[in-house]
Subunit: 222 residues, 2 copies
Amino acid sequence: MERSSSYMTNAFVNYGRTELDSMERYFKKNFVSSLPGYKGVNLIGTINHLARPNLAIFNTVFHVGSNPPLLGMLCRSPLVSSHTLNNIRETGFYTINHIKSQFFTRAHQTAADYEKDISEFEVVGLNHVYTDQLPAPYVKESPVQIGMKLKEEITLRSNGTVLLIGEVIEVILPVKSILSDGLIDLGITETITCSGRDTYYTTNKIARLSMPSPDKDLDIIG
Amino acid sequence: MERSSSYMTNAFVNYGRTELDSMERYFKKNFVSSLPGYKGVNLIGTINHLARPNLAIFNTVFHVGSNPPLLGMLCRSPLVSSHTLNNIRETGFYTINHIKSQFFTRAHQTAADYEKDISEFEVVGLNHVYTDQLPAPYVKESPVQIGMKLKEEITLRSNGTVLLIGEVIEVILPVKSILSDGLIDLGITETITCSGRDTYYTTNKIARLSMPSPDKDLDIIG
């Protein structure tokens, strides 16, 4: 019995197309959204043409290139993101703001389906601040605040979701979080990560590894 | 003095376009690649037309949609990804494999610039396994193995990098990692995360939160 139960505990399941297609809708949403592993999770700040601020949580921001500095963002769920997407189209600008555990519930709450004229900043209790570089609000409580200018919009044929490519035009972050070679220490910024659509995590560094080469062993460099 | 030093410790710096543009190339690569926050990190398995297996680490896999189940992947660095990209174009298939701390150095080493005919599986010491669903190798050691069929290829105008959209056609994972509502518990799979280009982390769950609604307080549901 011991042996059989231990076997079951370590058992793998194999889902093919038939099993995937027959998953209940909500189950499938949770399952597929977990597949990429952990995700960056950020608050996106925008204003509309009347300068009303809007804030929404996104877990689909990714690095596109460094020179020029580009980040991508997928506007996947129309319910959550339509105000954000409309505002970015109207103004051409947005901000990306890291999330700390101190305000992760307030960040999560921005995904509620508020009316268009409601400012999520006000409702959830986060502060908006501006610089003279762009017409979009930063989250004052955020440890890493990134100002973005829209460069490219692509509608994916596969499912109609919208991919935005933006250029980084401003970054505000703690001096001490920038390592000597440019890497930002996300332990110092206390940035959190997420999985699926609703689960949040802090991290523990395992190691920073040297640049791999075919002829050399890896070193731990941090 | 105490006061001033404490002030400096918490000081924020503001980088505008001028500062970003004048960053040294390697510094800038590290800096910009840290901006999205934590990233999913996965091993991508492919074969070429001679069925030679290839394995490469990518930190640019993201969720595109659940119905149909779609994941995106950016092929950012030609050096690292060209064999992978060529193989996906040739065969139309690839695998995405989560990484555990037990083999993260071997995973990182796959980014070394090996000759085309070298199998990274063999060089770094990971095992490839196949199913009858697709012509692409899974990483046997990986806790979550995802079989993908290429659906769409987009070249970004902004910097020429290639975005692949693929459909999930098979998933192999531990039975016990699938929660009752479909979410995959990445603590049970022991999936790790990364930041920048070379720093790896385990995680600690803060909380899973209920679906936000304008009229309801959030609950911790896991």
